[in-house]
Symmetry: C2
Subunit: 404 residues, 2 copies
């Protein structure tokens, strides 16, 4: 067979999706599988989205503006004002999901061969976007024992070399659930400013902070040139399939470059963008009950986890995720075993193994995250309680069957 | 200001979109501007698309499958069977427009620094996708005087070096309207097979062949390993804003690699994909009246052009475009002048200047296409006749004002 490129061959399998065939097999055997592997909210998408689809009456589904439609960008600017982020419609480029916003941010900040500093563990697809842009991710490790908060400045500065062009942070964090403090964000801002780096901030879980406040990269004073915000409606409005995100920056050159990149793929999806315009007008009150619901889910998951002997994790303050260290040597095998070999009362649990959330390529260290799993608490609380009960029993059974 | 990357800075402005501000100014002066610059069909999107939006009743707009939904891929396979292309749902990856399909094809075929051979003039955004993938496009020139058909094999083989990994062809062609013959497609297939290259074929205008038959890369025997088809609903169903395309290949490794790339951006837009499923079932009869309409438009445009002294172009057989040589030295200036300085009875014409359809970067030759413009005949026939009349008068006036 004609050989495909090395870069497409080493492209990482998604740790979130690669166990799906085993889950399908378990379900085919009549088992209940609690899907804690993927951050797919079960919350209904707000009615204005569906109403906008029903009311859609354009005769021609035509190309839209590459940077997104003016009314939608204005609605986004208003939404951001509600988050104490002062930006104008002209600072925003609408993208095909947060995914494309990250891709554009990487392309704007780096040349081929450059590096972006990122805190490990991190959202698995950052590895994929880095490969697509021919850059390396330079990881700085954060630890379960400290709630995955930042290491001291020295550790961060030590990882920055001449080819480093940006720092990428995600807050609230996927996969750890960590909300970086105002002090931590300021520290990153100071380093970025001092060393002339872009500070790219992935804030798609902004609304899901259960304690304290969220600090956006756009809140940092004096960082107008360095700050690039990456965002999406996927989690905010439970509209993952809409593939509507945005890139926001006050740096005129960076915004102009992002628009040029956007022109190459013509425009974001027209219909879904118009439906998102309807949702953007929902206002901040919409999120309060959602946040309460996810806080209950977080509590149930975390409390359940804490009942399992040997688990290490601090209570995460945001997003939908808990990254936990289990008393299991190899969570890749364990996660597969949960689907192929284990059930309790005909039920089992699907989790995302830790290693997929660590750097690939140039700075890869084999074996990282092997004793970790990511749990997405996107099910109703009773189901999460049941899932944690099963996980505890499964850990016992697995350790009995695989003594170290 | 913090500097953006060189690669994002050299990103080409779209020749199709960059004159928009001047057109807006002309319209603000009360002028009628005939937009022949962009291939945005005025044909209404078929009813099943809009009906599907109204009937959409999912509660959660959830992530879909990265490779596209099974029912839609099956509907596409049936559509292809109607084009005498035998492929299965498993040969197809649904993409975010044809744009992403080209990007995936480049990534699957090449490493950074590799080359793709492409026939010049070509669709302007190929330059952008090449930049994004850190590869070079190696152009092989085709000429207005020969209807932009292929040069002899020797000229093609001479442009293939050790870093060449693929040949990219577009048929029916954007920007030239040329439909490559079965013999031409077979010649490309033989070269690809002989030298172990992918043959990537962009066939988004398949339905718009006004004489003769369309030869798809998927029709070529023995080329299963080499052939990658790039496609889109944009032109076929006048649904440019839907951003739904696909990549089709029988090469298992290439398909698997494209699915891995697709996983990184999670899924194509869910709602628009479901609306496209409804359209995919329209059948081949749908296209006959459309083709007749565009043939009339082609005829009106070509006949009008032929009345302008000094114009060189052969009658194009497909797509929505005519690439014509005008008796004007610099069509960049002429295209701008049409909008800023010229009108006839308060009307003028917007065209896409030729140079944007030639290679940028490593193999760039300055001044190529300067005496050419691309005309998109996507307006009703009377408007096209009026536009050609104006263009002829404008050429006269411009040459009188700018004697060479």
């Amino acid at each position: 067979m004609l050989r495909v490129s090395e870069r497409a061959t080493v492209f990482p399998d998604s740790p979130i999706r690669k166990l799906v065939p085993y889950a399908d097999q378990a379900r085919a055997l009549g088992r209940t599988v609690y899907p804690l592997n993927i951050g797919q909210p079960d919350i209904p998408t707000p009615r204005p989205f569906l109403d906008a689809l029903k009311a859609y009456d354009r005769q021609v589904i035509a190309y839209g503006k590459s940077e997104g439609e003016q009314p939608y960008r204005e609605a986004l600017a208003k939404y951001y004002a509600g988050c104490d982020i002062e930006v104008s419609a002209n600072d925003i480029v609408v993208t095909q999901g947060g995914s494309e916003a990250i891709l554009f941010a990487f392309q704007v900040a780096t040349e081929p061969g450059d590096e972006v500093l990122v805190f490990e563990p991190f959202y698995t697809n950052y590895n994929a976007f880095a490969l697509m842009c021919d850059i390396s991710l330079r990881p700085v490790r954060t630890l379960a024992s400290t709630g995955f908060h930042l290491p001291p400045d020295e550790a961060i500065r030590a990882a920055i070399g001449p080819r480093t062009k940006a720092i990428l942070v995600c807050t609230p964090n996927n996969p750890t659930g960590t909300v970086f403090t105002e002090d931590e964000m300021r520290r990153l801002g100071a380093i970025a400013k001092d060393l002339g780096l872009f500070l790219i901030s992935d804030e798609v879980y902004r609304e899901f902070c259960y304690e304290g406040v969220h600090t956006s990269v756009m809140h940092l004073k004096g960082l107008e040139d360095n700050a690039i915000l990456v965002d999406s409606v996927s989690k905010r409005y439970s509209a993952c399939g809409a593939r509507i995100g945005c890139l926001v920056t006050r740096n005129r050159d960076a915004r102009a470059a992002a628009v040029r990149l956007a022109m190459s793929r013509l425009c974001p999806a027209s219909v879904e963008q118009e439906a998102c315009l309807a949702m953007a007008q929902l206002g901040m009150d919409f999120f309060a009950p959602l946040r309460d619901e996810y806080r209950r889910r977080r509590d149930a998951t975390y409390e359940g986890l804490m009942r399992i002997p040997g688990v290490t994790c601090l209570e995460p303050k945001g997003a939908f995720y808990i990254m936990a260290e289990l008393p299991v040597e190899d969570c890749e095998s364990f996660a597969k075993w949960l689907l192929t070999d284990y059930h309790h009362d005909n039920s089992t649990v699907m989790v995302a193994p830790g290693p997929g959330f660590y750097a690939r390529g140039k700075y890869e260290e084999k074996g990282q995250g092997l004793n970790q799993v990511r749990l997405a608490y996107v099910l109703e609380t009773p189901k999460l309680k049941a899932a944690m009960d099963i996980l505890g029993r499964a850990v016992d059974a697995y350790m009995a069957a695989n003594p170290s």
